[in-house]
């Protein structure tokens, strides 16, 4: 389980005149949890959005599960998109559907299931992310911040993806909910054999759940490795980030 499932080579992405990512190269290995850190505006979210195809690339290649995304046909892209799940920062739940319907939505589109099985599978997913079956009837506007994230995670896991992209999964949660969410990600990653690409600011998430950490600065990966490797790094931003606080 060490072959790269995502490999990014010499990636350039920018808006207007400036490049946000300048020749970024990064591999995400199968079955690992990779945490991506960086200062505000370092391009963490841009990298995530570039990999899932939401921002156009200026140069470089992105390969996901062995498919080169820039040259893939639409059908190939659809096939890859079925094999990843994305948890957006604000949850991005469909506001006119209930929590249960949100989870059922991708299943309904991609799997031919009976209505009964759809219901049972969606409840199973909700319960796996630590919610109750009763919560499924609520609309997104009636959910708390933590519950919204959990429903969004259940939706991201709806199709049993190989890769899960998490954009700041614990932002906006209190420390207890955040650590609960970290544990949940860890557990699900182990049970489902997921590869997790996680953009985060949360030092606790980095130390408790991430197998490897990639630090972004100046549009490139300036440090890559375990927490110990980060602490040993001589790059000024990485030093400030990991040594400026406790530990």
């Amino acid at each position: 389980m060490t072959a790269p499932v995502i490999s990014v080579r010499e990636l350039r992405v920018g808006f207007g005149a400036a490049d946000v990512l300048r020749g970024l190269t990064l591999d995400v290995l199968g079955g690992e949890i990779l945490g991506v850190v960086g200062g505000s505006g370092a391009g963490k979210s841009v990298l995530l959005r570039a990999i899932i195809g939401l921002v156009p690339l200026r140069a470089g290649t992105i390969e996901v599960l062995g498919t080169k995304m820039s040259s893939a046909t639409d059908a190939q892209k659809r096939a890859i998109e079925r094999r990843w799940g994305v948890l957006f920062q604000q949850g991005a739940l469909f506001s006119s559907l209930t929590a249960l319907q949100n989870v059922q939505f991708p299943m309904r589109e991609y799997m031919q299931l009976s209505e009964r099985m759809l219901g049972e599978m969606a409840v199973a997913k909700l319960e796996m992310v630590g919610l109750h079956a009763d919560d499924g009837r609520k609309l997104p506007s009636e959910l708390s911040g933590g519950m919204t994230k959990r429903v969004a995670l259940a939706r991201a896991l709806a199709l049993d993806p190989d890769i899960v992209f998490l954009d700041e999964p614990t932002s906006g949660l209190d420390p207890i909910s955040a650590s609960g969410f970290d544990q949940l990600i860890r557990t699900l990653q182990q049970t489902l054999g997921l590869t997790v690409f996680m953009v985060t600011h949360d030092q606790d998430s980095l130390s408790t759940v991430c197998d490897r950490i990639a630090a972004l600065a100046g549009g490139q990966v300036v440090a890559l490795g375990t927490l110990e490797a980060m602490q040993a790094s001589r790059h000024p931003w990485v030093e400030a980030y990991f040594k400026g606080r406790r530990r």
Partner: protein, 379 residues
């Protein structure tokens, strides 16, 4: 990558075993459904204790794990004892996790029978008319109170906001209003000439155009256009502010949302609509005049002379008096619907539609009431 899922009978030592092999994943959901619905079900029901040998399963996801768990539970319910044995270690955590789900049966969605649903919908719609009336008067009162406070303290009025709104609902609406009313005026005149010509009363086409445009059509068309153009945008703006809690933020900071957001918009609308109605009426008369010379063979000078004989200032006044009241109705409905927007994108669309439909309806009802009123006072 992996073979299709299979379930085969294996007799071993007097006990019946079922050997599960292949990929038990969502991609093979049809095959799995068929396997579990097929002759196996009857076999299972007949035998006592049965074991599923899962050691041959090559791939398992939540879907496959749930199908196995479901099968076990079904058998347990019918008194049989079914066990899954030999599941590869890497799937054990998943299976254990799935076994914890769906323990309490999901609550069935509350569903009323069709006829009852229809009756209850009708009832709610009727009650909705009443609550609409209440919220309309409520909003009108809130706006009136805010306007009263502004009169006492004119410095608190948000002039910048009002001027900005006036630009949006007034000035920027001028070209489209002029174009539409010019065409309507032309059409009315053409119809007048066409039908009156048959009994030689062509001159009266000018009377009809002038009176109709000044009294009714000019202001009505303009009000309907403003309801569609500005009323809808007010509702959508206020609604999305409500959705993103901006309105709550305003009130917690000690601002009255009616004062800050709604009053400047209403004031702009009440000022803009009479001006637009005036411009619209003039454009419609120009359209009528153009049609008179192009289609009716009447020179512009003759048209103007006939028009001066046909209309009086009263007709113009009747039209213009209605405009601010229609503007108020459009603004109040737009604000009230905007504040009713809930958390979902759907409700924003629903409220915007309701705002336009209700304000056009109100504009027409008001026009009718004014017609009765003016007729009874002899204007």
């Amino acid at each position: 990558m992996n073979g299709a899922p299979k379930l085969a009978r294996v007799e071993a030592g007097g006990r019946m075993r079922l050997a599960a092999t292949g990929a038990w994943t969502g991609a093979f959901n049809r095959e799995i459904e068929q396997l579990l619905a097929g002759p196996l079900a009857s076999t299972l029901a007949g035998s006592g204790a049965t074991v599923i040998d899962a050691s041959g399963i090559a791939a398992l996801d939540t879907f496959g794990a749930w199908r196995l768990e479901r099968l076990v539970r079904q058998q347990a319910r019918s008194g049989a004892n079914l066990a899954v044995e030999g599941l590869p270690q890497r799937f054990a955590a998943l299976a254990a996790n799935i076994a914890l789900t769906n323990q309490t049966s999901a609550p069935p969605p509350p569903r009323a029978p069709g006829l009852l649903c229809a009756i209850s919908d009708v009832g709610q719609a009727v009650a909705g008319i009443g609550s609409d009336f209440v919220s309309f008067t409520n909003m009108l009162g809130a706006i009136g109170a805010a306007a009263g406070r502004m009169l006492l303290q004119p410095s608190k009025f948000r002039l910048t906001s009002a001027v900005h709104q006036l630009d949006r609902v007034g000035l920027q609406a001028v070209p489209i209003i002029l174009l539409i009313t010019l065409l309507i005026g032309g059409i009315i005149a053409q119809q007048g000439f066409f039908h009156f010509r048959r009994f030689g009363a062509e001159l009266y086409a000018v009377d009809m155009t002038g009176i109709l445009v000044l009294r009714e059509i000019g202001v009505l068309i303009v009000a309907i256009m403003v309801a569609g153009r500005s009323g809808s945008s007010y509702t959508a703006e206020l609604g999305s502010m409500k959705m993103r809690e901006e309105i709550d933020a305003l009130s917690t900071m000690g601002f009255d949302p009616v004062e800050v957001l709604i009053l400047p918009r209403i004031v702009a609308l009440v000022l803009a609509l009479p001006i637009l109605a005036f411009l619209g009426a003039m454009a419609a008369l120009v359209g009528g005049g153009l049609m008179a010379s192009a289609y009716g063979g009447m020179s512009p000078a003759a048209f103007i002379v006939r028009l001066r004989e046909a209309i009086s200032l009263t007709h113009f006044e009747v039209g213009m008096i209605k405009a601010p009241f229609m503007a108020l109705a459009i603004g109040v409905v737009a604000a009230m619907e905007g504040l009713k927007v809930g958390g979902s994108a759907e409700s924003l669309g629903l409220r915007t539609t309701a705002s336009v439909v209700k304000s056009i309806f109100l504009v027409i009802v008001l026009d009718g009431l004014f017609a009765i009123f003016f007729a009874s006072i002899g204007m």
